[in-house]
């Protein structure tokens, strides 16, 4: 098992005096490791001398499974990678494959993608905020955040029929057009949400206990973060204005007006502030998408890739043939390779797909932000207290499904 490969040597040997340390095995079942993460801690009292992260408990082999599915069938698998922001995963995969197919995505589909991805970013950040606050002891925040998240899940269910594993995106567009009455539901949520963010801030931002628990905790310098390949809110909290939505716009993000929040302190509090501000910005983007939703088709004009309309399939020979081919063997993608990345709630999420010209991917690789971000766990936790390690872990906002895939 993994324990054998950990090379876990007590740090006592490195000390000049014969200091006795305690090895504490935190996880994989522990309330604050947010899933099945195992951290082996060397403790001197409550001070962590050394931390070793042991991942892999949630390994599902999704990357390998992708090679056995047709191109479209991979989309539901990508849902399960980062189950808190599944739409970002769908989007990154679809963008990569669409790059190979050179598909033109109609504006309505792009706006739907952006709106729902931003809503799921809000949902993901809400889960982070709730659990992070719960870790530090503010238990009511958890319930408030999940109340709002519930509204978003209901919206996702309205669009796709599923609350979490939506698989709403299709290669070439989205699965279904927006349902009747969606403007009202989304509009109602978006009009209420800013006051809810203010409420979270009321409870936490000015709270002296919250600030002394988070300020100066879990500091990492920008150079270190860059060296480790950390992305997302963590690097923005260290002062680097790096957001793929702005720097390499995809799916029409260049048409939206939003800010990239940054802080320079690079501690738990700065990450908290960045994510809270991102909630506001995501709300802003979703609002723009709602107001400016263009009419038109929700799927690209690609009869050999996307299923034809039901009526056409029954009346037109061509459509019936396409339908039969897509359903039985899928569509083939020109040989080549493509990399597409999106700004997921946790950082840069990239999908690298290789096609050998058949109806199944030759290789799908995911560059997941949780995995890259989790690398800094060991240097971050060294010489901190156990209580700080919990705050620092929470501020990294990793998802173990995203880490292990």
């Amino acid at each position: 098992m993994a324990a054998g490969t950990l090379e876990h040597t007590p740090t006592a040997a490195a000390e000049p005096s014969r200091r006795r340390t305690m090895t504490l095995n935190m996880g994989p079942q522990h309330p604050s490791t947010h899933g099945v993460l195992r951290v082996v801690l060397d403790l001197d009292g409550e001070v962590i001398l050394k931390a070793v992260a042991d991942i892999g408990f949630l390994h599902t082999g999704i990357e390998k499974q992708c090679e056995t599915k047709t191109w479209q069938q991979v989309v539901p698998l990508t849902d399960r990678v980062d189950y808190l922001s599944n739409l970002a995963n769908n989007l990154a995969y679809c963008l990569a494959v669409e790059r190979l197919l050179q598909l033109e995505i109609p504006p309505r589909a792009q706006y739907l993608r952006v709106m729902l991805t931003e809503l799921s970013r809000i949902a993901s950040h809400l889960v982070w905020l709730g659990t992070h606050a719960l870790d530090i002891g503010a238990m009511s925040m958890f319930m408030y955040c999940f109340r709002e998240r519930e509204d978003i899940l209901k919206i996702l269910e309205m669009f796709s029929g599923q609350r979490m594993m939506t698989s709403y995106l299709r290669i070439g567009g989205v699965a279904l057009d927006a349902p009747r009455g969606w403007e009202k539901v989304v509009g109602k949520f978006l009009s209420e949400f800013p006051s809810r963010i203010d409420m979270y801030e009321n409870l936490l931002t000015g709270n002296p206990i919250w600030t002394i628990r988070t300020k100066g905790v879990g500091y990492m310098s920008l150079e270190d973060l860059l060296d480790w390949g950390v992305t997302g809110p963590m690097i923005r909290a260290a002062g680097l204005k790096w957001d793929i939505r702005k720097d390499e716009p995809y799916s029409g993000y260049d048409k939206f007006d939003f800010e990239v929040p940054t802080r320079t302190e690079s501690d738990v509090f700065a990450r908290y502030q960045v994510r809270i501000e991102e909630l506001r910005q995501s709300h802003k983007i979703a609002k723009q998408a709602l107001d400016g939703m263009p009419p038109g088709p929700f799927q690209a004009d690609a009869p050999k890739i996307l299923l034809p309309e039901r009526e056409k399939m029954k009346t037109e020979m061509e459509a019936l043939i396409c339908h039969f081919k897509i359903v039985t063997e899928g569509f083939s993608v020109p040989a080549g390779e493509a990399y597409a990345c999106v700004e997921a709630p946790r950082g840069e999420l990239g999908y690298y797909v290789v096609s050998d010209g058949t109806t199944k991917p030759y290789r799908v690789h995911m560059r997941t932000p949780s995995f890259a971000n989790l690398q800094i766990l060991a240097p971050m936790l060294e010489n901190t207290l156990i209580a700080d390690s919990i705050a620092a872990l929470g501020s990294m906002d990793f998802v173990l499904g995203d880490t292990d895939r």
Partner: protein, 396 residues
């Protein structure tokens, strides 16, 4: 009447009411926190989940009494016993009301089990010994999380006992007694014609500072948020009672709630005038409060029914509350019910504060907590003590 028989009856009564109250305190806590968190709380067992404490007790009693193989058996079993015993003993010195005559008899007795001339020291001593329960539980469990929890708890409780005791010293100076009954009696003075001389109302509010210090230390002493580090679930799983299950766990649980209740009673007696109302002439209030809430429940249970499932429970409780209200207005019972009402409502308010804080605040870090105790609470409490002493010396 025979002293022994009377004491036995009183002890039985207090023990029954206290233990039931502890069980229902937990129900109240769950309900209050649920409503703070926009949830419903327990509502499956009985109307509004009112039988939940009963089922919880049955569950804990009938669970397998597990003793892990790696524990130090003697201390492992001793710890919860010390914890719960020390938590429950303190209630015996708490006076709930003045001297009364039992209705329809000529028996005169005090409301409260006993009155020691060193009464105030008993809860302090008990909580001092109670630290052993936590330390022993953490050590004997032979579990790393439990050990860390036990260490944190002992350090924290020992540190906060100091400002707590100093904060208590302020009202002792003012009332010149260690007997809780005498402390309350000496607050039984009406000043400026409308205000009972509760400790916090006297000496320019200096005792109010002591009261705040006492409350904060009480939170730490009972290991509640924001000072619940010893059992910080998100860091130490369950802290010192990680390895305990069934009744042994229930004993720790009960000890926590008993400590909470006792320390709130202590705060009420030392600072908030015990069973005294805020101003004279409020004897009609207790009955009115119950009667009004009863009428409100009847209204919402019959005329203005919001939820169908309340059609039986709300009118029933409405009638019961109206009945309790009427009881408070019966002249024979008034000398008993009125002081009890004021005492219990003040205690319940403080307990509500505990629960409210738990639903709101995050928790401290271990070193911050110690720094808070030694760097802030201790100097401030010493300062308060000096100020009170000076004022008492000048005034009296």
């Amino acid at each position: 009447m025979d002293f022994l028989l009377l004491s036995l009856i009183k002890t039985g009564l207090v023990a029954f009411v206290f233990l039931t109250a502890l069980a229902y305190l937990q129900w109240i806590e769950r309900k209050v926190i649920a409503h703070v968190q926009v949830r419903v709380g327990p509502n499956r067992v009985g109307p509004h989940g009112l039988l939940q404490p009963l089922t919880d007790t049955i569950k804990l009693l009938t669970k397998e009494d597990l003793i892990p193989a790696h524990v130090n058996k003697f201390f492992y079993l001793l710890a919860p016993v010390i914890g719960v015993a020390m938590a429950l003993i303190s209630i015996s010195v708490i006076p709930f009301g003045p001297k009364i005559t039992v209705p329809f008899t000529s028996i005169e007795t005090y409301l409260g089990l006993t009155d020691l001339n060193i009464g105030v020291l008993v809860p302090l001593a008990c909580s001092g010994i109670g630290v052993y329960a936590v330390a022993l539980a953490g050590w004997s469990s032979n579990n790393k999380y439990a050990l860390l929890g036990g260490l944190r708890a002992s350090a924290q409780m020992v540190s906060y006992e100091l400002p707590l005791a100093v904060a208590i010293a302020a009202p002792l100076l003012m009332h010149n007694s260690l007997s809780m009954r005498e402390i309350v009696e000496s607050q039984n003075v009406v000043k400026w014609g409308f205000l009972y001389n509760w400790s916090i109302f006297s000496y320019f509010g200096i005792p109010f500072v002591a009261f705040i210090i006492f409350l904060i230390c009480a939170f730490a002493e009972t290991n509640r948020i924001p000072f619940d580090l010893p059992e910080a679930e998100n860091e130490l799983v369950a802290g010192f009672h990680t390895e305990y299950s069934s009744m042994k766990f229930a004993a720790f649980f009960m000890a926590e709630y008993a400590n909470m209740t006792t320390i709130c009673c202590l705060a009420v007696i030392l600072f908030l005038g015990g069973w005294l109302p805020p101003t004279p002439g409020l004897d009609w209030v207790p009955g009115a409060v119950f009667f009004a809430s009863g009428v409100l429940m009847l209204y919402h249970g019959t005329v203005n029914l919001a939820r169908a499932r309340d059609r039986i429970s709300l009118p029933l409780f409405g009638v019961i509350f109206c009945g309790i209200g009427v009881l408070h207005w019966i002249p024979v019972l008034m000398p008993i019910t009125t002081p009890l009402f004021w005492f219990l409502s003040k205690t319940l308010f403080l307990l509500f504060l505990y629960i409210w804080v738990r639903a709101t605040l995050p928790r401290f870090r271990y070193d911050q907590l110690m720094h808070f105790a030694w760097g802030w609470m201790f100097p401030v409490s010493i300062g308060t003590l000096f100020a009170t002493g000076l004022l008492v010396a000048v005034w009296k």
